[in-house]
């Protein structure tokens, strides 16, 4: 089975307006093919980006903060506002050696903004489930 059908079988269908033979508009639940293709591409891209970041974190090039930011679909600017920490500091904390020395109070703010526990924030999951 294609990846497109796989993700579109998951969850309830949405409704689409269709023009029927009598010239009336009716609601139907078949997703258009173009939508399936593009959504599948975006979902698979999101997954692969997340997986790449996870590998980089394990290799010690990025901090786990990067991973959780990507997981929650945030941009650095949004994360900075959510945690109440200046953007340049947030960007600095993407470096693993800086992140390792962070005070618990700062970690706490990130954990609240990203809705993960402080323990989780220090590492990345071993395998993406």
């Amino acid at each position: 089975m294609d990846f497109e059908d796989e993700i579109f079988n998951d969850g309830l269908p949405k409704a689409y307006y269709k023009h029927n033979d009598q010239g009336q508009y009716v609601l139907e639940t078949d997703a258009p093919w173009a939508e399936k293709v593009s959504v599948a591409l975006i979902v698979s891209c999101n997954r692969s980006i997340l997986e790449e970041i996870r590998k980089e974190v394990i290799a010690g090039q990025k901090s786990p903060l990067c991973y959780y930011m990507e997981m929650r679909q945030l941009e650095p600017g949004m994360l900075a506002k959510a945690a109440g920490i200046a953007l340049f500091r947030v960007k600095r904390h993407f470096r693993p050696e800086v992140f390792a020395k962070l005070k618990p109070s700062v970690l706490d703010r990130y954990a609240k903004a990203l809705r993960v526990t402080v323990e989780e924030l220090k590492t990345v999951p071993d395998r993406k489930d």
Binding site: L12, K18, A34, S38, I42, N46, E75
Partner: protein, 344 residues
């Protein structure tokens, strides 16, 4: 379509709709005895729009919105139909949940703005960080709420924590527990007057905003970006951007072709309401525009799939978009003239 009882024993009918905000507004009106369909709310609220926002990004992709600002359709439609809604926002999540419980006990159904990413019943393909998703809470159940989400076919249960997380998200996207419920309603709204107001508003929004990223000019702007994208970004990244655009056209609860089919349904209903031949003609025009947008998304999907069709290129996809822009400009100029002739 399913029916359930609200907290005060009044039956609530759950209808499947295409778009969250219009369907929620229409369901609220219908629950209080005013029969307004979803396309009608969309047209009256002046929902159709275009805006390309390259400085706002979601999952590294720019936003191209095919509808007005979240919340504006509800606000405008309620005003034009003469209904008064109580709206509330909260700083404290606990207070937000308590207030929701209190209002539900009085027998009201409540509309909420939530974040799609955090709604627990959403599947992965719908989960993205967008804070303007509207749902209706019908009543409280044991450790949860009974939720009618019009974009999915059935009523669902949602836990208290899940709903609270979706209503209060840290950061700039916070919906702040935005909730609304009916205070007074006009049982015999002047639909004709409301339709005229909505159409005029729409024409102004599409044609007269003096910025290159909104309205018809915005479509042309994005078309040029699409044409240049393979040179500027590389093929893979350009595909991703194109897929992002197609997602805004077809997914995101547009009811197909970037709300254009829904708007055609509205014009069709309005033509029956006014008995106007001009509007019947405009219905066909709008359907043609919708078909062109659908053609654009199919063309884009072919590019993404690399089906080796010689005509499937970024230039042609951008060209189709330019065609849409031309058609839409002609359509809205025509609509402007037709609206002037309509009598309320």
């Amino acid at each position: 379509m399913t029916t359930e009882l609200a907290a005060n024993g009044k039956p609530f009918v759950h209808n499947h709709g295409a778009h969250c905000e219009t369907a929620v507004t229409s369901a609220l009106f219908r629950h209080h005895g005013v029969n307004v369909s979803e396309p009608m709310v969309f047209g009256i609220g002046g929902g159709i729009f275009f805006g390309y926002l390259p400085f706002l990004k979601l999952t590294h992709l720019p936003i191209s919105a095919f509808r007005g600002k979240p919340g504006s359709v509800f606000r405008k439609a309620a005003k034009r139909l003469g209904a008064d809604f109580v709206t509330k926002k909260f700083r404290d999540p606990k207070k937000g949940t308590e207030e929701l419980r209190r209002v539900l006990k009085t027998g009201q159904i409540v509309g909420l703005a939530t974040n799609l990413y955090w709604l627990p019943y959403m599947s992965e393909r719908h989960r993205w960080n967008f804070s303007g998703h509207n749902i209706i809470v019908v009543r409280e159940i044991e450790n949860g709420f009974r939720v009618s989400d019009p974009t999915i076919g059935d009523m669902v249960d949602c836990t208290v924590e899940g709903l609270e997380q979706a209503r209060f998200v840290p950061g700039p996207l916070n919906p702040r527990g935005y909730m609304y419920y009916n205070k007074t309603i006009n049982h015999h709204p002047d639909l004709r007057q409301a339709c005229i107001k909505g159409m005029k508003d729409t024409c102004n929004l599409m044609l007269r905003i003096p910025l290159p990223i909104f309205g018809v000019r915005g479509i042309r702007f994005l078309a040029k970006k699409v044409m240049q994208s393979p040179d500027k970004l590389g093929f893979q990244e350009a595909c991703r951007h194109l897929a992002g655009t197609v997602r805004w056209v077809e997914e995101t609860g547009t009811g197909g072709a970037g709300f254009r089919y829904m708007y055609a349904a509205f014009i069709q209903e309005a033509s029956e309401l006014f008995g106007s031949e001009d509007l019947v003609r405009l219905t066909h025009d709008m359907t043609a525009i919708g078909d062109t947008w659908r053609e654009f998304s199919v063309m884009s999907a072919r590019i993404i799939k690399q089906r080796n069709r010689p005509e499937a290129t970024f230039t042609n996809a951008g060209g189709l978009m330019l065609k849409c822009a031309d058609l839409e400009e002609a359509f809205f100029r025509d609509l402007q003239k037709v609206v002037k002739k309509l009598k309320a």
